[in-house]
Symmetry: C2
Subunit: 231 residues, 2 copies
């Protein structure tokens, strides 16, 4: 169909929320945005906001990790995304949040009033464009994740997850996962047992090493990406 093929390692698009650090194009406006924020800290498993709440605020993760999740009536859960330091949560809300935000581990956040968005889009025309980019990137990530959920095997899902996490960590070959196997399972559409078996299988095949459950060492990055294929 097309002569071009999608990049194996998509640029810093990366799943898992959106990054926006002071070194980027909208740095100045964000610096002043900071003055509107309040620092809050949350304990592990605490809920910051719930699906259906009025969306008065949006948040940025400073330390720790967060998750955004949706529930079905009988308790089935899906975790849309994990948020690590630098990521924004809730920028994509209309007047009500469409998901629940909880702390994966003890975390500190900065809370901004949503009105700050409108202030900034009107003052800084570039900020609106920036927001659009962020949402586009979230959407691309969501599409990649739909492909994963709809069409990948358990091991492929875990491999994809590790590749994505690696892209978000300083040392992609040696990372600490802040979330439980159960969180990972609900993110990948699997059960904890299946996730655990996939980890074991990758370890047995020599693709990764495990130091405790949380610490992953990538031993064969090529094999991991082969399995992940398109994250």
């Amino acid at each position: 169909m097309s002569s071009t093929v999608v990049a194996k390692n998509p640029p810093p698009t990366s799943r898992f929320g959106i990054r926006m650090d002071s070194a980027n194009s909208a740095g100045t406006s964000l610096a002043s945005l900071d003055r509107l924020g309040t620092v809050i800290s949350v304990k592990r498993d605490a809920t910051v906001f719930s699906e259906g709440d009025r969306s008065h605020y949006f948040f940025r993760v400073v330390t720790g990790a967060m998750r955004s999740c949706c529930l079905l009536a009988d308790g089935r859960r899906h975790i849309n995304d994990f948020f690590l330091p630098g990521d924004f949560i809730g920028l994509d809300a209309d007047d009500h949040y469409r998901f629940t935000a909880e702390a994966v581990a003890d975390a500190t956040l900065v809370r901004y009033p949503r009105s700050a968005i409108e202030q900034f889009t009107s003052i800084e025309p570039g900020f609106g464009k920036h927001l659009l980019d962020l949402l586009s990137r979230q959407l691309i990530a969501a599409q990649q994740h739909m492909l994963l959920l709809g069409r990948k095997t358990a091991t492929e899902r875990v491999a994809s997850f590790l590749v994505t996490m690696g892209g978000r960590t300083r040392d992609a070959g040696n990372m600490s996962l802040p979330m439980t196997r159960s969180d990972i399972a609900d993110h990948l559409g699997l059960t904890t047992e299946t996730v655990s078996r996939a980890f074991t299988q990758l370890k047995t095949q020599g693709v990764i090493g495990l130091e405790g459950a949380a610490h992953v060492i990538v031993q064969d990055g090529a094999a991991l990406e082969e399995l992940a294929e398109a994250c």
Copy 2:
């Protein structure tokens, strides 16, 4: 956790791309946007653009139906979304398309240069906000779909699909599906056989009626939404 519960029938958020008709807030600007567009027509299964192509244009469906899909190397396919008359395709691209757009049925589209977006966001400040809303809605839809792909059973997926399609059709109780079972399967993360069995099961239970494969009559809307739960 929260006192509020998510609405059973989310507002006209609707899955399946984004709507933008002349009756809404940005009507005037869109009318002038129309002058920048070229009408094109595509035959069934024709490719309008491919994953990885430079994104010079975005499109609006006038008649017929389109699909956006992603592929894995071995041919596994996922259809992100279907696009019906009024929907825009490709607004969420960065410089390259992240998915392939194909015609589900013979279709006519309007093609706009992507530069039109920047023109309009600079001329009409309200247009940028409008775009943000559209992308937010797409993102919400994607999150609902991830829940479906990760956690719903085959019958629940088909029921959800029918509810969503119903929300996009004039007569929600009596609709024609322009796409094949295979398209539906690749959208729901199933096989054609499983989709077919789910249709048969819904028919046997008296929830829907079928007049040919493409024509669905909803006989028990409450049961259908019960099965779909949160679309």
